[in-house]
């Protein structure tokens, strides 16, 4: 009975520690959520049509139950805000979150800061799959979703498994960083070349592929977002349940195995899940570079390397980043649209370099 007496304070301390740990990991997530909300609101008030920001906010409040602001707006404004801007923002958020999340997972599995959906050839693989789906008689049309995500997923899986097996060093399932990146670059080039070949050889019916590969959210609509969401959730959960294991995987594979992790199986599940997420993003919005690479890095530099936190915050970071990029892509050359991938690279690149530079100064 002395035993129970002794555990009571321990239990309290443990509880307090757990709460503290939870707050620690939730605080960045909370900050991320607030950032995402602010960015989404900003995006909702900016656009080609001149609708005052205040009016947009009132229109939003009117949608809430029991709130009446008594504002009357032209029908056009209502359609622009709720049928054009809102689905567009939602699509950008989904795609940004998916790319950043899968990027974080890839970086974790490969223990390689350069891993990302773009550099590993996964995006090009998914793009090729999607292109094949578009020209194949299976496709309905480019507005519907149909077989595009399935083919994109298969393409992404082929790419990631090729890169993985090519880079596997003989013993113990370790992966060589250099070989991995080289293989990814080569695969990327091969898949892009095949896609170009399909584009050139297919004649008129390949035209939708062009718009698809350039990417963007101009044709975003709720049905397509809802069609993509299940894939994102399933893939996302597949990675999330292994978030803690990802931390362990940062050690040697051998050490991780000694700690009871089934390394090969876990890696396989995480890679498959992450590829599903990345491929869905490609199917939803084409190939958008840089997000999967830089967002997890930015998050890691700011909030540290715990993968549970990193994955969660990457969702908010990626979503916010792509929404911001999309604001630029639809307003900078108004009434014209700029492919959002151009914006993510131009805006994201220098930001990433800045983070790298400032981090080096910290270390010196």
């Amino acid at each position: 009975m002395t035993r129970t007496g002794a555990t009571a304070p321990w239990r309290a301390i443990r509880l307090r520690a757990a709460v503290a740990a939870a707050t620690r990991s939730l605080r960045p997530a909370g900050a991320g959520a607030i950032l995402l909300l602010a960015v989404a609101l900003l995006a909702l008030t900016i656009g080609a049509a001149d609708i005052p920001a205040g009016t947009v906010l009132k229109m939003l409040l009117d949608k809430l139950p029991f709130v009446e602001t008594g504002t009357t707006v032209p029908d056009t404004w209502d359609r622009i805000v709720f049928e054009i801007r809102l689905p567009r923002i939602a699509a950008a958020a989904c795609v940004g979150a998916a790319l950043a999340y899968s990027g974080a997972a890839y970086q974790g599995v490969f223990r390689n800061p350069l891993a990302g959906p773009f550099l590993l050839g996964i995006a090009s693989g998914a793009g090729l799959g999607a292109a094949i789906a578009i020209v194949s008689p299976l496709a309905i049309n480019s507005y519907g979703f149909g077989w595009v995500p399935v083919f994109a997923f298969v393409g992404a899986l082929i790419a990631v498994s090729l890169a993985y097996f090519l880079a596997r060093t003989g013993s113990g399932g370790g992966v060589s960083s250099t070989t991995l990146i080289l293989a990814g670059v080569a695969l990327s080039a091969i898949f892009s070349a095949i896609t170009s070949f399909i584009l050139l050889s297919g004649g008129e019916q390949t035209r939708p592929i062009f718009s698809f590969l350039f990417g963007g959210f101009n044709t975003a609509n709720w049905p397509r977002i809802l069609a993509g969401l299940p894939y994102l959730v399933v893939g996302g959960l597949g990675v999330a349940v292994h978030a803690r294991v990802l931390n362990v995987l940062q050690l040697d594979d051998e050490q991780a195995a000694q700690l009871g992790v089934n390394v090969t199986r876990t890696k396989l599940i995480i890679l498959t899940s992450a590829s599903l997420v990345a491929a869905t993003a490609v199917a939803m919005a084409g190939i958008i570079g840089f997000v999967g690479l830089i967002v997890p890095h930015a998050v890691r530099l700011v909030f540290g390397v715990d993968y549970r936190r990193l994955l969660l915050v990457s969702i908010f970071g990626g979503a916010s980043f792509v929404i911001l990029a999309d604001i630029i892509s639809r307003t900078l050359l108004d009434p014209q649209e700029i492919p959002v991938g151009i914006v993510t690279a131009i805006v994201g690149g220098p930001f990433f370099l800045y983070l790298l530079a400032s981090r080096r100064v910290d270390h010196a």
Partner: protein
């Protein structure tokens, strides 16, 4: 870590070449050079290189001089004879093409290869169809073009052209880069860039009439087109409706033709306001928001063959209240009628006019 560092820094030892050996070699070489000076003075590597460079430079200079001459004579030729001038039907006939190159025909062209779908249509329309021996894969009108030999539109091969033994080749905007290469191969090439206006099409018709010797037919066609265009413009000028706002849709993700394109020019001629007004690139992708905000009265779907229709446009999110949808003025339009700078462009022009001003063209 520390254990590995020194190992990493020291490279594996290689046998160092004996210094003396180097000097010996140099001395030997000097001796050899002096000994064989008779030969080596004439053909040392460096001199050979210099000679090669000199030849290259000379060739370049000559080529530059020749092209200078070309330019001079071209500008002179341009001053007294403009594209499409048809003073008489005599040969030899010389004209200046879009690249300011003088093109001469000793006799009417009898074996023509056309890399321009628009030019192919013109040739058939002016009764010179049997003078065409080959055309690019997009030259698919009229039906008689099916029997032609094929050449490549996008990446044409001069060898293929040579085997066809043509006396005249027509190239257009897509083949600007290749035209000089074809000329150097001895082929008689005229570069006729895609015209920027209806007037340009009519000029091309008169020119090709002159080239093929079918002057009367070409001039009759050109005059007829001119009359029809003027009639449309006269009819429209009688309208006191507000200028129609038009979305000329190329794809369902809202690629369209900007104001500075051939199509944009036709819309302007038709008194319409292009939704893409203000866009900077020739074929911009518009944001859905900008289109809805501009509220077009008429939507012309050149992507109808890809499944777009009034129904699909009306079903797009946010489009239900757009004037063109409310008034059911979303029309399919055959892109070949309006994109291709050939004789059918007048049909396209009249079709567009009727769609924009249904009250004036019953």
């Amino acid at each position: 870590m520390t254990r590995h560092t020194p190992h990493c820094q020291s490279p594996p030892k290689l046998p160092r070449p004996p210094r003396e050996g180097v000097f010996k070699y140099l001395r030997a070489r000097d001796a050899r050079i002096q000994k064989d000076s008779a030969v080596l003075a004439r053909f040392p590597l460096s001199r050979l290189l210099t000679l090669g460079l000199l030849i290259l430079a000379a060739t370049a200079l000559i080529a530059a001089a020749c092209s200078d001459d070309d330019d001079d004579s071209a500008s002179q030729a341009q001053s007294d004879q403009t594209v499409g001038s048809t003073a008489d039907a005599a040969f030899p006939f010389t004209f200046t093409d879009s690249a300011d190159v003088e093109v001469t025909l000793q006799a009417p062209a009898r074996r023509i290869v056309s890399y321009s779908p628009g030019a192919t249509e013109i040739l058939f329309a002016i009764g010179a169809g049997d003078q065409v021996i080959a055309a690019d894969e997009f030259s698919d009108f009229p039906a008689a073009t099916k029997a032609l030999e094929r050449v490549a539109y996008s990446d044409p091969d001069p060898e293929r052209a040579l085997t066809l033994d043509p006396d005249f080749l027509i190239m257009t905007s897509r083949q600007v880069e290749q035209a000089p290469q074809f000329r150097r191969a001895g082929l008689n090439v005229a570069l006729l860039l895609e015209p920027e206006s209806l007037d340009g099409v009519i000029e091309n018709i008169r020119l090709l009439g002159r080239v093929t010797g079918n002057v009367d037919q070409a001039n009759a066609l050109a005059d007829d087109m001119r009359t029809r265009i003027d009639a449309v413009i006269a009819t429209i000028s009688g309208s006191d409706d507000a200028a129609p706002v038009v979305l000329y849709e190329l794809t369902n993700d809202l690629y369209t033709a900007g104001p500075d394109t051939f199509i944009g020019g036709m819309l302007t001629l038709l008194g319409a306001r292009n939704v893409a007004q203000g866009a900077t690139s020739p074929f911009p992708q518009l944001t859905a928001e900008a289109v809805i905000d501009a509220d077009p009265n008429v939507v012309l779907l050149t992507d109808a063959e890809f499944g777009e229709s009034f129904e699909t446009v009306a079903a797009r999110p946010g489009w239900s209240g757009v004037s063109a949808v409310v008034d059911q003025r979303v029309f399919p339009l055959d892109p070949d009628l309006v994109n291709r700078p050939g004789p059918r462009i007048v049909d396209g022009f009249e079709t567009m006019a009727a769609l924009l001003y249904p009250d004036l063209f019953e």
